[in-house]
């Protein structure tokens, strides 16, 4: 229940008109003996009497809700208001003003519903489609109950509803072999033998081996018990670093162009979904967001929802302090680090180099859209081009220290990087401790 203000039943200008013309017309007709005025005043007097006789006595009660409260981009939700005590109400009108990233149906946001005489409640619903991730305020919704002939109106203002739109992860898949595993459970083959599914070899039975692992053919041939051993199935910790220090480009929602932050958020969601559905652990640090910025490593669908929730709550923080805070965030122990950034702020690249220097495998995903245009004035355009040139130099210097920078292209974007780290997995590495 979020109704902020209620105006009780009050007469409308139409009722005022009907009463004045009805009463005044009949009085003048009688006084001046002009029957034409009586005929002209008759419909107004009739309407005034009808309206007054059917004036609603009780104040309706509005109970409203938004369901579902959490949706994905492009999905729809609906505001629904239920009015009780609608005796003598003619119709109910609800109006949702236009809000950014929320498309109402009908586009005007006005929905009117007729109230039947027998009904004691009236339900009015405004469907809405969210076209952009984030938290969106709905309303204020104006609800107006109207009596017969539009003579009396009851108004309520419904405020405070919010819908969370989770980013719709882009289509992403990785066909490349997986990073070396370091966890206890998962889908990836570890280098150690253990309780898994991938065949390792056949060895003599040891105390503690499961009976179902006994290889009976080999045991019968050799005369002593042998078991089939497997490699342990283990998981990977994938640490996502999301750069939300700024947003570049124009966002057109789910149906239009994507800004840098749109691409970053949707790519982060896609990568998190990919690895979590494989059974890996994923953590996330958002650099430069005003809201919650850290999600600890965990796995499963519930954790994916937690990550998407944090992504949906991102509000870019362009202050210098946000960049400074980012450099102080802890670096996970042993993980596959993926940083998503438009790479306009040098803080993201500095952070990537810092993570790599701690011995982690890092990849930087470049999420700057191709068609970012600066302002129309020549000076700003020139400044933007200079910044892009500097950015190229910074990216080259980061690549020179062994941090790959990959442009986000959807499915298979990370495949070259994952193949490369799988190849290097067995090789010894130098790390600063």
């Amino acid at each position: 229940m979020t109704v902020s203000s209620v105006d009780p039943w009050s007469p409308s200008p139409a009722h005022f008109r009907a009463v004045v013309f009805g009463v005044l017309g009949i009085a003048l007709a009688l006084l001046f003996r002009i029957p034409a005025i009586l005929v002209m005043a008759t419909p107004f007097a009739f309407i005034a009497i009808w309206s007054t006789a059917t004036r609603p006595g009780d104040e309706p009660e509005l109970v409203s809700r938004v369901s579902p409260r959490t949706i994905r981009e492009g999905e729809a939700t609906a505001w629904t208001g239920v009015l009780s005590d609608v005796d003598r109400v003619d119709h109910v009108v609800a109006f949702a003003p236009s809000r950014p990233w929320l498309e109402t149906r009908p586009p005007s946001g006005v929905v009117a519903t007729n109230v039947n005489v027998e009904e004691l409640t009236s339900t009015v619903s405004i469907p809405m489609r969210s076209t952009h991730w984030g938290r969106h305020d709905i309303g204020p919704i104006n609800v107006v109950a109207v009596s017969s002939w539009g003579a009396f109106r009851w108004k309520a203002l419904d405020v405070g509803h919010q819908v969370t739109t989770l980013p719709l992860p882009e289509v992403f898949d990785a066909a490349a072999p997986q990073h070396r595993a370091n966890g206890l459970v998962g889908l990836n083959r570890s280098t150690r033998p253990g309780d898994g599914s991938e065949f390792s070899g056949i060895r003599p039975f040891q105390t503690g081996d499961r009976l179902r692992r006994i290889n009976w053919r080999r045991s019968l041939r050799s005369g002593e018990l042998h078991v089939t051993s497997t490699y342990a199935d283990q998981d990977t910790h994938v640490a996502l670093f999301v750069d939300a220090l700024a947003d570049f480009g124009t966002s057109g929602g789910i149906d239009g162009a994507a800004s840098s932050l749109d691409t970053t958020v949707r790519a982060a969601g896609a990568i998190a979904e990919h690895f979590l559905l494989r059974g890996d652990r994923v953590s996330m640090q958002v650099v430069g967001s005003r809201g919650r910025s850290h999600v600890p490593p965990a796995s499963g669908r519930g954790h994916l929802r937690q990550i998407l929730d944090v992504l949906a709550a991102i509000v870019p923080d362009t202050s210098r302090s946000a960049a400074n805070r980012a450099s102080r965030d802890p670096i996970p122990g042993d993980a596959l680090a993926i940083m998503l950034s438009p790479l306009i702020s040098p803080a993201a690249l500095e952070r990537a180099v810092s993570i790599a220097s701690h011995g982690l495998t890092v990849a930087v995903v470049d999420t700057l859209p191709d068609d970012v245009h600066a302002a129309h004035d020549a000076t700003t355009e020139l400044a933007w081009r200079i910044r892009l040139l500097e950015r190229q130099r910074e990216v080259r210097s980061v690549q020179n220290v062994g941090v790959p920078v990959i442009a986000w292209r959807g499915p298979g974007s990370l495949d070259p990087f994952l193949r490369e780290i799988a190849r290097r997995a067995a090789a010894p590495r130098l790390a600063r401790r």
């Binding site: 419909p43 006789a53 009108v93 005007s108 002939w149």
Partner: protein, 182 residues
């Protein structure tokens, strides 16, 4: 560059739904119909009314919650009273029904904001009501014509009594319209 007021009007025009446009058209045509009824009765046009009344009606269609509609009805009714001194013409109920339609459509339009549509059930219900009120108007006109033909002498007591009843009715309407507890 347009002024903010003009731009607001243009935006409002763009947002207007088809149903609202049709209702707006009726709002403009209905008082024009009443003016034409007067013209048909007296046999000449009223140029001032043909210009002013549609303009006021258009203003009331754009702002149905304003008191522009009050002016439109007052102007048309005054024009009839001033120019025509008979009651037994069939143009009188025509003009009355035109004003009734104008009032009803204006009242309905005022109940929902720009761009909205009311349900067909609501429109049908309002149409039935308006037809019923029109029937009552025609019946009263027929009664008035019948009584007018009898040419009865004036009666001060009866007139005073009728006025008292009208006054009492006005008081009842007022008390029924305004919530005294507020």
């Amino acid at each position: 560059m347009n002024s903010p007021t003009l731009q607001a009007w243009i935006d409002k025009l763009h947002e207007t739904s088809r149903q609202q446009s049709l209702l707006g058209l009726v709002t403009v045509l209905a008082p024009l119909g009443a003016i034409l009824a007067v013209a048909a009765e007296i046999g000449r046009w009223w140029p001032f009314g043909l210009v002013v009344v549609p303009i006021l009606a258009l203003a009331s269609a754009i702002g149905p919650d304003s008191h522009a509609a009050f002016l439109v009805i007052a102007v048309v009714a005054m024009h009839w009273v001033v120019t025509i001194d008979r009651v037994d013409t069939p143009w009188l109920p025509v003009a009355s029904v035109c004003l009734l339609v104008y009032h009803a459509v204006n009242a309905l339009t005022a109940t929902f904001p720009t761009g909205g549509d009311v349900s067909t059930a609501t429109i049908v219900e309002w149409l039935w009501r308006t037809m019923f009120a029109a029937g009552v108007t025609v019946a009263v006109w027929a009664l008035v014509v019948l009584l007018d033909g009898r040419n009865a002498a004036g009666n001060g007591l009866l007139t005073a009594l009728a006025l008292a009843i009208v006054s009492a009715g006005a008081v009842v309407l007022r008390s029924g319209s305004i919530d005294e507890s507020r």
